[in-house]
């Protein structure tokens, strides 16, 4: 979707400000938002692409006005509601009354503390084992499709309808443009595609500069 998350090439946000000696988390609530998001993800009800799509659906004005872990909270509340794990009404009741009852849910695969290390080490969300033939090889000239789907896509707006060259073949991966929309894994090759800065931004861009973007077979046509 053409949401506020698709930021590449926008102007007016001001300088990049790097904080010296930045802590991993700035506030306690960020720690908790991070941890409950990861732990809830291990329930296995949604994939990483669905997580991203949930955050992308935050209204654009709100997305740009809020911080990173607020995006995560928006996405997590949405996914938990949609999967019937924490309905919105229950969340509102608990917000109004910390003692509002909530019955335990049974039968879910809950991440235990003793399994955290192994779960993080073996986390392997998107690499596909299927033997799918690549449509392109390194050095091939390609063009990206011009698409504007309402659903999730990993083809950024600034790279649609542009010509590039296959720089690396990463092997076979789950296709986010279907997986993120609940339409299956559709495993296919993912490549790093190199575009000249001038192809993306016009003649004003530096002559030698390039941008490499990871894209899938379904994003590409021969050029």
């Amino acid at each position: 979707m053409n949401g506020a998350h698709d930021l590449g090439g926008m102007h007016g946000f001001g300088p990049v400000e790097i904080e010296r000696d930045e802590p991993v988390f700035h506030r306690e609530w960020e720690r908790r938002a991070f941890a409950i998001t990861l732990a809830a993800g291990f329930l296995g009800k949604w994939n990483i692409d669905m997580s991203r799509f949930a955050r992308e659906q935050m209204p654009p004005a709100e997305y740009l006005a809020t911080s990173y872990y607020e995006h995560w909270m928006f996405g997590l509340e949405k996914l938990l509601h949609e999967h019937g794990l924490v309905p919105r009404q229950q969340m509102e009741r608990r917000l109004n009354d910390p003692a509002a009852p909530a019955a335990p849910v049974t039968g879910e695969r809950v991440l235990a503390a003793r399994d955290v290390e192994a779960a993080l080490r073996t986390s392997r969300a998107s690499k596909a084992d299927e033997d799918v033939a690549p449509r392109y090889k390194v050095g091939d000239r390609v063009a990206t499709v011009n698409i504007n789907p309402l659903g999730h896509t990993r083809l950024p707006r600034y790279a649609r309808g542009k010509r590039g060259v296959i720089a690396l073949d990463h092997g076979v991966w789950v296709f986010p443009d279907t997986a993120g929309n609940g339409l299956g894994r559709k495993p296919q090759h993912c490549y790093s595609v190199r575009f000249t800065a001038r192809e993306l931004w016009g003649e004003g861009a530096a002559e030698r500069d390039t941008v490499c973007i990871d894209l899938w077979d379904d994003h590409l046509v021969p050029a």
């Binding site: 988390f25 990173y68 969340m91 608990r94």
Partner: protein, 215 residues
Amino acid sequence: MSHEHEHHHHHHDDDDVQEHRAHGAPLSDVELRVRALESLLVDKGLVDPAALDALIDTYETKVGPRNGARIVARAWVDPAFRRRLLEDGTAAVAEHGFVGRQSEKLVVVENTPAVHNMVVCTLCSCYPWAVLGLPPVWYKSAPYRARVVIDPRGVLSELGVDVPADTEVRVWDSTAEIRYMVLPERPAGTKRMTEEQLAGLVTRDAMIGVARVRA
């Protein structure tokens, strides 16, 4: 480290209360929502509170840019390791035990006088957690994500990195599950330094490609 860090194993409600007493402010909307949602998930048995603490502890104290700095220093002193790292970053960092979430496949790109690499995720915040830890705020922020693909030299210049016109600036937009780390150039005047001393020079920002390593 902040007092929050030292106390992160304590019950978080107490931390929140202390934080807010210190700041004299009521809990914000998002703080209330996070607290409500966490308590619901715990009461419903959907998350294990001890697992939450373990997740936080992992990324706050165990995984971070020191991992990547060790990799860079090894690559600088061991040409065979450097070759393996550039050929298959995932396997080479696994030799050091750095594997896992947000690093299913790691590609290491080398900065040279001919090419200056830098890494971004314009669509969200993809970042090589296994070698660099969690991303800093600026990496996830709109200014970096918006500008680095259209004006990489402007961003670099503001951050004090001047790249000659005949050097290619190559920006890697991490739109898939492949993660990128920059192998920065080894600074001059470090011939006599040990691997450990070299690792001490390597900064997170240099491994993202927005800084040079200085001796």
